[in-house]
Amino acid sequence: MSVHYTIRINGNEYTIERDEQGGFTVNGAPLDIDYPVSSRDELLRFRHRSFTTHIDETSPDGTSYRVNVNGWDMHVDLEDEKTALLRSLQSDKATKVHSALVRSPMPGKISRVLVNEGELIEAGQGVVLLEAMKMENEIKAPSAGIVKFIHIRESDTVEKNAVLIEIS
């Protein structure tokens, strides 16, 4: 049975069909792909170009992949028909909740908190100064909103990906 995928990479969307024989159709046009055997990574070739590919990370639900192709790091979001349907059914509810988390990009020590709970902030505004690798790093808000909750205090030590601040 063939499967249809909707793929999003760097803001671009591709519609890809994989048929029963393992052949691919990309945005409606068949694409002839070679798979030369390679022991250390996966190699694809089409339109006479070679692509060395490597899956670096997979999200737990298997819908998001971090793929390296010829040195380019890409986040690939993948949706088959079933997932797409599920998402469209849930989307009404989902959009109601709107909250963003500011996470620590690395382990480090909080040297200063630049905002207060309840404060209205802009996207890109610095919210926390994190000291790591002998440098002070300004962590910025990913989106505008109101500071809902501050999870850390000055001098706290945090792990990578620790939630620092919630914005709603």
Binding site: Y14, R18, F24, Y35, G62, G71, W72, M74, M106
Partner: protein, 506 residues
């Protein structure tokens, strides 16, 4: 004159590896020291002997002067090479090493002290006629004196609060007519901010470039310079791309700057390799900034254009031997560029990143030099500097070197951390860099992460296909192991069959 047979390298990372390589090429025995998290690091593995000196924190490991000297003595080392950072510019350490009867591969402690203090260094440079940024040595007493000094220094000038910081109490004045009003407001601002209205005058360096001169001095009074390094491409006030020669330095300016650098080194009784940093303004006037009394991160670009191995020369000079060449015998050939490869997210304000290098294959070929402190599988941790390797190229001329660097950056294969590679690649294509027309504010002025190159659509399609194959294999494996939901009509993807048969992608 003492022959060095064994050297302890009091450092880690790429510079420790760099020094180890030079020692091994000379047939000198090497002793490494390491902190706990560095137990499997390349600099430890390739040393003849390695000693653990403590936990991750530098203060409890790489900065432990006594422990390092003890290990040097007990392991039979004749000398200690401090690399850069850590103890390299610590006069007490240099003195303690010598007091222990060991050779310190670096300058005399007195030279480190003199040049380490900004005020004493500036005073000494003025005495010896090395140009410094002109300005007053004491606070301005009156508007009249300010006018007089400003005229002497030459406009534009900078008014700077004595207690200043963060731009407060600071004013750029471009013409005499604006001076009095600017002085008054600077004084008011300084008084309000710091309760101290003393203001100094200094020449304002317009569109400055950071250009430095490498010097090499022996213990017999010979000092030579090895030309300049252009270090204006900086982020967070730290150099990230360096080159030699500089696009704006010609033979005449090189000779003048070189002479000033030699004078600076002579003034402080310098021996060994050192660097004099200058600011160079739009009109190619140069001003002494500071002296780095050690080997520098960017020393390889000088090595590639002069053909002189600076680490080997450091050892040679430390043995008390005279320099094996005169200034006239130093020739510059071609062009070299260095890119610092740091674990940083160039899309997010150069924030440091950490992780395990799941893949690492440096670039290779003619004119490509890789000075690295890591191997595949190494971890870049929070404990030390994010610089993990340096990619240095040599080309027949600047255009050739830029072409080489582009290719080398494209070929560099790394996974596991974000790196400065995309930024460096961007710079190599930037018209201002290509034209040599840039200053120390290049990043602020010309770099926007959204302008970084991205992959083309075929590369994205390849990523999509790879993700689909991984996805379908994953789904099949989960079903086969009873890990996923029970199968619908599609029990097995064609890929899985191929994978199982050891077909493509297996």
């Amino acid at each position: 004159m003492k022959h060095i047979r064994s050297i302890l390298i009091a450092n880690r990372g790429e510079i420790a590896v760099r020094i180890l390589r030079a020692c091994r090429e000379l047939g000198i025995r090497t002793v490494a020291v390491y902190s706990d998290p560095d137990a499997a690091a390349p600099h430890v593995r390739s040393a003849d002997a390695a000693y653990c000196i403590g936990p991750a924190e530098s203060s409890r490991s790489y900065l432990r002067q006594d422990a390092i000297i003890d290990i040097a003595l007990s392991s039979g080392a004749d000398a200690i090479h401090p690399g850069y950072g850590f103890l390299s510019e610590n006069a007490n350490f240099a003195r303690a090493v010598r007091d222990a009867g060991l050779i310190f591969i670096g300058p005399p402690a007195e030279a480190i002290e003199t040049m380490g203090d900004k005020t004493s260094a500036r005073t000494l440079m003025i005495e010896r006629g090395v140009p410094v940024v002109p300005g007053t040595e004491s606070a301005v007493a009156s508007p009249e004196e300010a006018e007089h000094t400003a005229a002497e220094v030459g406009y534009p000038i900078l008014l700077k609060a004595a207690a200043g910081g963060g731009g407060k109490g600071m004013r750029v004045v471009t013409q005499p007519a604006d001076l009095r009003r600017a002085l008054e407001s600077a004084q008011n601002e300084a008084r309000a901010a710091f309760g101290d209205d003393r203001v100094y005058i200094e020449k304002f360096v317009v569109e400055p470039r950071h250009i430095e001169i490498q010097v090499l001095a022996d213990a017999h009074g010979s000092i030579v310079h090895l030309g300049e390094r252009e270090c204006s491409i900086q982020r967070r006030h730290q150099k990230v791309i360096e080159e030699s020669p500089s696009a704006i330095v010609d033979a005449e300016l090189r000779a003048r700057m070189g002479q000033a650098a030699i004078e600076a080194a002579r003034a402080c009784g310098y021996v060994n390799a050192g660097t004099i940093e200058f600011l160079v303004d739009r009109d190619r006037n140069f001003f002494f900034l500071e002296m780095n009394t050690r080997l520098q991160v960017e020393h390889p670009v000088t090595e590639l254009v002069t053909g002189i191995d600076l680490v080997k020369m450091q050892i040679h000079v430390a043995e008390g031997k005279p320099l094996p060449f005169t200034q006239e015998q130093i020739h510059f050939r071609g062009h070299a560029i260095e890119c610092r490869l740091c674990a940083e997210d160039v899309r997010n304000n150069f924030l440091p990143d950490i992780g395990v290098l799941s893949r690492l294959r440096p670039s290779q070929g003619f004119g490509i030099r890789d000075d690295s402190g890591v191997v595949e599988g190494s971890e870049i941790s929070i404990h030390y500097d994010p610089l993990f390797a340096k990619l240095i190229v040599w080309g027949m001329d600047r255009t050739d070197a830029i072409g080489k660097m582009r290719r080398a950056l494209d070929d560099y294969c790394i996974s596991g951390v974000e790196t400065t590679i995309p930024f460096c690649r961007y710079v190599m294509d930037h018209p201002h860099f290509i034209d040599g027309d840039f200053q120390i504010d290049f990043v602020q002025k010309h770099y926007r992460p959204e302008d970084l190159h991205g992959p083309d659509s075929d590369t994205e399609i390849a990523a999509a296909i790879a993700a689909i194959r991984a996805h379908e294999t994953r789904t099949t494996v989960r079903r086969a192991t009873g890990n996923g939901q029970s199968g619908g009509p599609e029990r097995c993807s064609p890929w899985a069959l191929q994978y199982r048969a050891g077909g493509p992608g297996a």
